[in-house]
Amino acid sequence: MASHSSIVLHVDLSSGRTWRESFSAEYLRHWLGSRGINAHTLWESVRSDTDPLGPDNILAFGVGTLTGSPAPSSGRTTVTTKSPATNLYLKTSAGGKWGAALRSAGYSNLVIHGRAPGPVYIDIDEDRVEILPAEHLWGHDVPETTQMLSQAAAPRKVEVACIGQAGENLVKMAAIMMSTYSAAARGGIGAVMGSKNLKAIVVSGQRRISIADPARFKEWSRRARENIANAPSAKVKTLYGTSGSIVAFNELGLLPTYNFQRGFFEDAYLISGQNLVESGFLKKRHSCYSCPVACHRYTEVDEGEFAGTRSGGPELETLAGFGAGCGISDTAAILKANELCNCYGLDTISVASVIQWLIECSTREVLTEQQIDGLDLHWGSVPAVLELIHRIAHRRGIGDLLAEGVRHAATTIGNGSEAWAIEVKGLEQSRVETRAAKGYALAFAVNPRGPDHLHAQPIAEFGLREPGIQLIERITGSREYANPRLTDKRAEIVVFHEDWYAAADSLGFCSFPTTADFAILPDVMANLFSAFLGQEVSEAELLAAGRRIVTLEKCFNVRQGATRADDRLPWRLMHEENPDVPGGAIVPPAQLNQMLDEYYMLHGWDLETSWPTRSTLDGLGLSDVADELERIGRVPPARQ
């Protein structure tokens, strides 16, 4: 293992001090890389009473262990902090090329401490690390900031991670944008960066990753690329991006429409990736570091009211959220919403979700005209939706309330509006119809950061392709369980996917070729990691390390006071049927509870509290974590 593959760079913005810390191969085997090391660092650094927007919170960037290598689709960066949206654990990840650049600068992780007295940015060029004034950047949007910093660094070629105005204004759905259009989006992570007065992080370097067994690494990289090339779902993503699935979801009645009141949107084709191609909006496809799929889009509007709109994306979540979710079928208008969110640095999932909630409040007449700033709010109301994005980013008028997240907004407004706030733990749910996919429902309920698909993505449960069915057979012992309507064996399926996802994140792999396309299965990952280290790491050890990471993330929330009551689904999804799924679809509380019982038992967590037991933590090498939880009375008593 090369020395620069194992160096954590710390920057304290309060004191201006920087320092480096190296870790051993043993530590890397224990935590695997970015997500695991970040989780451990957060656990060690942050206390239960730490204010997420205060100087004592940390912002940890972790580069995938294999990022910088030729392994395909291995360029993901994980960013970890205590979330201002949930006051719980938060990991979020981004593609692009920023992570690979940090690796080239010689670092695996970057941990930001403290708070600068005024706006600053950090410039890292290998051994040179500078904290520089950023007053001239403050108030600029993401593309402007990225361009200004890139020009200032020229001829040095740099990658930039930055926040827009949303992060500066501490909006709790602000993102950190990397390589301009790749978002570490969820949980208000951009607000944490803004709270530190940190506008941007510029990185560059020429260092190369060192691989202990290059021949083995090359062979397994070749196999992984071949698997990706042969995966039909990867081809759909190359052609149409993530939004190539919208028409399929719609036909199945699974496209969340009008704030999850329906599962079918009449104009779904207009908001699909296919339409972006056919109508000429798609101008370029591009890829993250070392990825042959190239699912990222670059779109422009050439004519009409929104002519001149241009941005990266949009992804499925954005098209579905502002399209079917808000009832908008004007493709150009959705591209405008996407552009605004990317410029301000906003999480499109949360922004679209809180706007849908507001529209529903308006249509149900629980808000006065004055409360909604006189906006003409109804399903499909383009001017109001675009205006709300501005207001959220700048915390103006009703936007100040919405910027706190849908849970806070619904609690404030009341009048029953909590029932259509599609959130859990304070985070808005992504556009997945969990009522019709029981494994997804369980995965969303237990996700430590809140309900979305980027914790465990059990797409195999749909049984759409033979490799997915074989995977379900491997996990459960029977192909029959490749059926999303079943609740049986969902716990086994979710736990396996959690372990796999945590390992993939930590090594830097994207979820698409792994859990979505079944091209990079755990055995491929174990072989690549072994070749990198020059030490044999079995698939079982890799997945066990994934379990350790997932468990530590859970323990962070336990320390914060989370209990079983926090593992649930949004009220609507447990009490109202989706009428567009043949036969109906819902996950009643009793059904979720049954799946939760099985899930906790598999993990070795207490059924009553959901807290990991002492023996479970000891078995995972987390005895120090158990000691700390025991001190505050959060290790469950032994029960019969």
Partner: protein
């Protein structure tokens, strides 16, 4: 005349015929029968053996994998949708 409606939505490599086609319903028929009929005008790309695993075939909004596959029976007024496979979001 009774018909079965077939919609091709966003599939690469299938040209012509528009996105929605009405096929005469002449008596008991399966998904396979309908696609064979359509192949006469749309070409062999729409035959079951050529559609491959980049797509899903839905009858009345349900995946034929959960029913009788290509032999899933259709009724008059039936709706068939052929869409790209779900690829994650």
């Amino acid at each position: 005349m009774d018909t079965v409606t077939v919609r091709f939505l966003g599939l690469p490599g299938i040209e012509g015929g528009g996105r929605q086609i009405a096929v005469p319903y002449t008596g008991p028929m399966s998904v396979r029968d309908v696609l064979v009929t359509l192949s006469l005008t749309l070409g062999s790309a729409v035959l079951p053996e050529n559609l491959g695993d980049t797509c899903m075939v839905l009858v009345q909004g349900r995946n034929i994998r959960e029913m009788q596959g290509w032999d899933t029976p259709l009724t008059a007024g039936g709706r068939v949708a052929i869409v790209p496979i779900v690829a994650g979001g």
